[in-house]
Amino acid sequence: MNDDIERRLEAWGSASAPDPDPAFSARLEADLRSQAYFGSGSQAPDPSPRRQVFRPAVLVFSSIVLLVGALVFLRDSTSAEVIMSAASGTEVTLPDDTVVTGTAGLALPDGSQISVDAAGSAVVDGVVLGGGTRAQVTNGQLEVLLTRPTAVPLPQPPDRAKTRPTVGPTATPEPTPTTPPVPNPQPQPTPVSTATPPPPPEPERTVAPEPTPTAAHDRDRPTRTPTTRPMATPGEVESVTVSLSIEALGEERALLTWSVSTDTFVAGWEIIVTSGDRSRAIAVLHDPTVRELQVERLENPNATYAVRASASGGAVLGQSNGVRFPLAD
């Protein structure tokens, strides 16, 4: 009886299929190359051949780093495991390619990819991921790869809801696909001092650029457009001033909003939480146009948030002042 079905399936499988659109092929290849050059923080191939030459040395060094890291981890009572604390309309692709529905309490090992539906939301490691966000976990750290201009539903006191200008992540512009980056990138900028700049002026709500929201028909297109930033040569590196403000969105959530003096060489952001004498990045944002992020209240009320601007290659361009989670009204 299955013979008939097999015949039909074979006919279906032998039906000629269209070739991929050349524009799509080129765009995806450019995207993959941009991940390699600008670093998604993943296991991306390293364009530098030095990685092969010094592999034994790298292994020894990595072992030492791992050992030290493990000792630090054991000393620290807080777990480095990344946990999804809330989710709706979220799918997680685990490192073995198993796809599971995002649920509260789900542990996210390195390599996990998080995909939030347009109408969904999730909270990972205290960071609120709005609808359409794509993120992954790398080295125990959340990396936000793609954000969408979708408001995250929030329980808000009525009076605050009236006074807040907008809610939700800043829209990600979708520029025209660019040509692949130059195969041999110029030398990376030298890291500069991360000294905290002076306290910022009263935060302005207009500091974030307001890109045109993505058209609805682009919503489903997962290919993220490569964010090509100028590659700074060492002489060109300039530190930037990042100003950060925080606003309560309720008892448990707050909105971080930041501005930067110049974003010419900014390739992304790190959201740093400092608790006592320890700092860690709770999220890495690979979109230099993003200027806000929702976060959940931290366990330690004295912990502070800061935003660090990074150049392509990871050099730190500047770090904001630290701000505490505000008291709700």
Binding site: L28, Q43, D97, V99
Partner: protein, 203 residues
């Protein structure tokens, strides 16, 4: 392989090793496999946009995890198809599909008339549209594992051994899974047929 292949004499195993450290080598693998992965995703979804979504997700996932890929007889193809199969299932979960055969037929009809004017012609060579639509509807209702087995065996242009590798199974085990999957598909097709005869939606 294309005419302007920068690694014409490099066999696939060597290329995979290079791809772990060299984006150009990975790009070459990408160019080699994109047409096949795209064809697979297109047949499975019937939509150019969905096929592109699946291709993007597949190669991004492959790019992220190629360091952990272990070379096996049969090459990297089955591994890529396995990822593509998972991403296809994930795509359906994420996007949802019209729940009824009639809904899917309507979508197929619309897509033929709009962005894929050549769809009907291409499919008509082998199998009528309504059969594709019915098969796809029935396949969507199977468990992800059965969907994977059938899609990889029949829609991915893989031979039985390659399909088994893509599923992470031995050939005899795949045969067992396929047999069950085909029976389940038959049941779903019968349900669809009954529902259509009665004029209702097969839910």
């Amino acid at each position: 392989m294309t005419q302007d292949d920068p690694h014409p004499a490099v066999d696939e195993r060597e290329l995979v090793e290079q791809a772990r450290v060299d984006i150009d080598a990975f790009a070459e693998l990408y160019r080699r496999y994109l047409p096949r992965i795209h064809a697979f995703a297109w047949r499975r979804t019937g939509s150019t946009e969905a096929a592109e979504d699946v291709c993007s997700a597949t190669f991004e996932a492959a790019f992220r995890s190629i360091d952990s890929y272990q070379w096996r007889k049969g090459g990297i193809g089955p591994w890529l198809f396995r990822i593509a199969g998972n991403q296809t299932v994930a795509h359906y979960r994420r996007e949802g599909r019209p729940a009824t055969a009639r809904g899917q037929a309507a979508i197929a009809h619309l897509s033929e008339r709009t962005d894929q004017g050549d769809l009907s012609e291409m499919l008509a060579e082998a199998v009528p549209d309504y059969e594709i639509s019915n098969l796809r509807s029935a396949l969507d209702k199977l468990s992800p594992r059965y969907q994977q087995a059938i899609a990889l065996r029949y829609l991915a242009d893989l031979d039985p051994a390659e399909a088994a590798r893509a599923m992470g199974l031995a050939k005899p085990a795949l045969a067992v899974v396929l047999s069950r999957a085909l029976k389940a598909l038959r049941r779903e097709l019968d349900r669809l047929s009954e529902a259509t005869t009665m004029g209702g939606d097969p839910q």
